[in-house]
Symmetry: C3
Subunit: 338 residues, 3 copies
């Protein structure tokens, strides 16, 4: 797409300073930007605005003679929004690739792209303007809303429900059986895994992430949640609205995470844990089974505790080897031990 600086300023409800007729075709960092690029600058980088080659820059304030800028309250947010608008691809390859295998009774909306080799099973529904890229597998009786994008080789098992504006990256597997077995004498019997998965609107799911179906209940990812690559979400888990989960974190069965939580990378959360809204856990933290975790405090370590405590304990531990030597010395002095 092409947009003028004037159109960008209008879209961002910002104040244009400079030449509104400049045409922008892409976005870039201040450092890399060229004449056709939109960029942004935090205040500490305002110096670089003067020397950069960007066609137009979002800034918070200031005068930049000879440059075209748009003044907005939050330049990074404005940039992110305007970039999405500027770069928005039309679903220009809408249509079903001849090599795709679409069940006769699947329901395919308007302006949908189904890529090469994709498989759409019986009873599946794909909403308007959704993109199902090459090699995706869309199981029986799944439902995908409108304006969603499934990158190549996503798998949705039967019955999975995906909302509107959802992005799912390659290799993600949604709706595989949860890991549930009952010990029977010398071996295990599989416990039924026949529950559902609901992915609400505006969720993003990273590459090779796994979200298992419920056993007898439903696994739910609430509106606006963002999940990174290689994350494990077990059966019956519920993840709250606008919660962010970084790469390689694992959430065990039947745990719930509230809204607006921020979970770092490689965090492990046990079974039946309950994390409040606004829970914040640093990388590699661990939550034990059945724990209730309070929100609003930065937590770290295994088991998670306030980061201040962890750092205090780590500092103390670093002094411990020396302390042990001092104590031995002390004992000798006091008690006359040798």
């Amino acid at each position: 797409m092409k947009r003028t600086a004037r159109e960008i300023a209008d879209y961002a409800a910002g104040e244009l300073r400079g030449d509104g007729t400049i045409t922008l075709t892409s976005v870039a960092s201040l450092k890399n930007a060229g004449a056709g690029d939109l960029s942004y600058a935090e205040e500490k980088f305002h110096d670089q605005v003067k020397t950069c080659a960007a066609g137009c820059v979002f800034v918070r304030s200031g005068e930049f003679p000879g440059k075209t800028v748009v003044v907005v309250k939050n330049p990074k947010v404005a940039f992110a929004r305007a970039a999405a608008w500027l770069l928005a691809a039309d679903v220009d390859q809408a249509g079903i690739h001849p090599s795709a295998v679409v069940a006769p009774d699947a329901s395919i909306g308007n302006n949908v792209k189904i890529g090469a080799g994709a498989v759409i099973e019986a009873g599946a529904q794909v909403g308007d303007s959704t993109v199902v890229e090459a090699g995706c597998y869309i199981g029986q009786n799944t439902r995908i809303g409108s304006r969603s994008v499934l990158y190549p080789r996503v798998v949705l098992y039967a019955g999975v429900e995906v909302g509107n504006g959802v992005i799912i990256h390659s290799g993600a597997v949604i709706g595989a059986d949860g890991f549930g077995f009952v010990r029977d004498g010398d071996h295990y019997v599989k416990f039924p895994q026949i529950g559902g998965v609901i992915i609400e609107d505006d969720v993003e799911i990273g590459a090779n992430t796994c979200i298992d179906r419920g056993s007898l209940e439903t696994t739910i990812i609430r509106r606006g949640a963002k999940i990174d690559n290689l994350v494990q979400v077990a059966h019956n888990v519920e993840i709250g609205e606008h919660t962010v989960i970084a790469s390689q974190t694992g959430i065990s069965g039947s745990s719930t995470i509230g809204a607006n939580a921020v979970i770092g990378g490689q965090v492990g959360i046990g079974e039946h844990a309950r994390l409040d809204n606004n829970t914040i856990i640093g990388g590699q933290g661990g939550v034990l089974n059945d724990k209730r975790v309070r929100g609003g405090v930065v937590l770290w370590g295994t088991p998670v505790r306030p980061v201040k405590e962890v750092l205090e304990q780590q500092a103390a531990l670093a002094r411990l080897p020396r302390l042990l030597r001092e104590i031995a010395e002390l004992k000798r002095k006091i008690l006359g031990e040798k």
Copy 2:
């Protein structure tokens, strides 16, 4: 499928109490069950049996006038078994999808389903009543037994052997090269990774899990082992019968785990470690290279040690910052230090 309560009771070798003619078509939790659902109740939930809507409920004992129940020793096991029986899908779509690519000399058993776009390479064997779902890649000279299910987009590299009744979830990669290199001056040379992988009967392997082929030996997953999603099993590893491994655990090269072990999520096991039968390791635990680990004790932490020790040490560590202050005080008092 449909089964009557009488048939369910007979299958479970339980005692029917109530109306044996009730027809059951699915299973559900007590809470969610409707008239056509089979359910089960642990004793503490017997109260709910009276008020639930389930058509039939496995219980351990008791009278439930007006309800149909089946009395068995272990309701959860009976439920899991009966559910599998009740829900067993016939391989009703048996046959090779026209878009599948099957080598002329591959051997395909009776009542097999090969899904859309699946690729079966030369010399591969697929046993009776096995399902190879859409987009699976079955390499040269692989062997898959009977009644196994490979969900969409599983990859078996050349020469992998899979037994009977095995379930492999989407995105799992079995038989990729192990991670073996030899340093030669300023760079690495790949060490040959030409060993095999054997997956024995009744194993289940989770989504996006990786099981590497042996370098010069064989990687083996023994009968009845259950492996969750996103697990890494390196070259030459052996995992014992009926061992359970939770999500995101990694097992380094040439390590062995005995039978009936229970390994939690995100556990890391070094190279050439040897874990006995009945090893139990809690989530995020770590086993160092070359270690021998004894079974029968719950282990935790990195390096793993009995959980009782870990908890004692954690409690002591929590007291350490205060202790340091007390010691300083003590030294001042005793030694007259300032």
Copy 3:
């Protein structure tokens, strides 16, 4: 392929002792080797050379009457190199499978194999003698060099660049969006993820590993780096030449790792960290955001510190519970506390 012992000796620039006419067709460990196998022995296993059945064995020195050996400085390196040479498959199935979907303007080199169901999008370039196995997805305007191998079901997003002699295992996803969002009031806005990925020559990437594209910059994997399965490499990361990264490690956004580093399994590296050349980190180690890590010392723990310190602290911690009891005793004695 077939090679005689004489040819193997010449290839390895070693000294042949024994029968140079022996024909070798494969490789194996000393223990498993048969008459047609090439093997190798470290000096401590020289005894086994005499009794093994291998057709030819690399050794460092010694006489083995009746056996055919090749004397070289480093038998393991020589074996690895010769094995690659001996086992080198010709791209014997070169050609484009009729079920592959190749864009008319994609550029496909000589002697290339494109497997069944692979998708090559518009503007993609595939170099000579490269193998793109079944079901791979090669996005728009990607570039793959010569002699590279992409195993089944690899995904390259648009614009990814892959060098010569690169190996990428099944399920790897290269170029998915980095995990970048800007909070805007009660929800997140996606930050543009439009940077590139460059994979230089001779890199190997494991199964189901994810390497995200840069946000506005480029993610770079330098020449000769080796990355194991299920590894996460976030946006804007740079990994140095001949660096080795074991399974399930995660590297957060904008971090850099120098050359010749060795990173263990399940290591977590925060954002904007800078790891020097020759950094060595043991399994499950953790590097905090923004940290600078020095090379040449074995590091472990979270946060990483010299392994000697970690072990000393662990030993001290193990003594801490008893120490606490002793201190209480000491206080009673000294201060007359009860």
